[in-house]
Symmetry: C2
DNA sequence: TACTAAATAGGAATAATTCTTATATGAGAA
DNA sequence: TTCTCATATAAGAATTATTCCTATTTAGTA
C-alpha cells in the first residue's frame, strides 16, 4: 500500500492525514503478527526517529475508535493491535508469543446457527472470538517480544 | 469452604499452608467475578490488613503454576484471575466489566468434533476458549473496577 | 496566505506488576 | 516438643506499559 492509499484510509475515516498516522498505519499493515506499541515504535522510528511514543498511543486509540484496528487481549502485560477487521479468530502459540489469524466461514456459520438456536438468557451476543491455544510443529520456546 | 478444606487444596498441591495463601484462596473462591489483584487485596485486608501486595502477586503466580487458578485476558491494563478450572467459556459484558462463566457441554462437543474433522495445518490444538462479547439486559454502563 | 481546531513532541505522572532483601515461619527431623 | 532451614512474607524500591499535560506545530479550509 503506497502513501496515497494509506492516506485514503485516513480520509475515509474523517481523520486528518499526518505523517505520523500514515507511518503508524503502514507499520500496522507491515507487521503481520499483531504488534504491540513497542514493535510499532521500532518500525516507524526507521523513518521517523522523532515520532513520540505518546503519539503512537494516541493514534492507536484513535484507530480503535474508528474501528480501523482493534485490541488483542494477551496474558502478558502489554496490549497488541490487529489491523485485520474481517471476521477471524486467533491461534495462540504457547511456545513463543505468536498469534496467527484463523479464518473459517464454516465454523462461523456453525456457531451462528448454534447460538441462534440456543439463546443465553438475559444476554445479547454481539460477537464471538475463539482463542485457540496450542503450538506449532516448528516453533521454539523463545519468548520474542512483540 | 472452611479453613481445613482450603488448607487441603494447598497440601494436595505440595504448597506450604500459610495464612496468606489460605486467605488469597478464600478470596478467589468468594469473589465470583474473576477478581483482579486489587479486589483480592481488598478482600483479604478485611482479616489480614498487613498482607503485602507483592505477596498476593507471588501467591497468584504460584497458584497459576500449580494450575489452581488461571489468568483471564481482558483489554484493560490489569490481569484477572479465575479459580474455576473446569472447562468453560466467558461472557464479556460490554457495558460494565463483568465476566461470567459459560458452561456448555453440547457446544464443547460440537467444537471438538469440528476440529477433529477439520485440522489446522502445522498446529496442535491444546485448548479452545470462546470470548462471547455482548451485554446483559439489566446492566448499566458503569465501569466498576474488578 | 491566514486562520484555527486538532495533532504532536517531549517529558512528567500514573499504576499494575516485579524485584530486592531482611525477617519470619511452616514442616519435617531429631 | 524443639530445632533447623528451605521457603514464604513484608515493606518498599524499581520497573514498565500506558496516560496525562501543555507548549508548539500543522493540516485542512476559506
Ligand atoms: Mn488477528
Ligand atoms: Mn471463568
Ligand atoms: Zn510459536
Ligand atoms: Zn455488565
Amino acid at each position: 500500500m503506497n502513501y496515497s492509499e494509506l492516506a485514503n484510509v485516513l480520509t475515509q475515516n474523517n481523520l486528518k492525514v499526518t505523517p505520523q498516522r500514515v507511518a503508524v498505519l503502514e507499520a500496522l499493515m507491515s507487521l503481520k503478527d499483531h504488534p504491540n506499541a513497542d514493535a510499532i515504535k521500532e518500525f516507524v522510528h526507521k523513518n521517523h526517529p522523532n515520532l513520540a511514543v505518546g503519539t503512537i498511543y494516541n493514534i492507536l486509540e484513535t484507530f480503535c475508535e474508528k474501528k480501523i484496528i482493534r485490541k488483542v487481549k494477551t496474558d502478558r502485560d502489554f496490549m497488541r493491535y490487529d489491523i485485520e477487521m474481517h471476521r477471524h479468530h486467533h491461534l495462540y502459540c504457547e511456545e513463543c508469543d505468536y498469534i496467527e489469524n484463523y479464518y473459517d466461514e464454516e465454523l462461523d456459520k456453525l456457531l451462528q446457527e448454534y447460538f441462534n438456536r440456543k439463546k443465553i438468557p438475559n444476554f445479547n451476543i454481539k460477537d464471538i472470538n475463539l482463542q485457540i491455544l496450542g503450538n506449532y510443529n516448528d516453533h521454539n520456546p523463545i519468548k520474542k517480544k512483540y
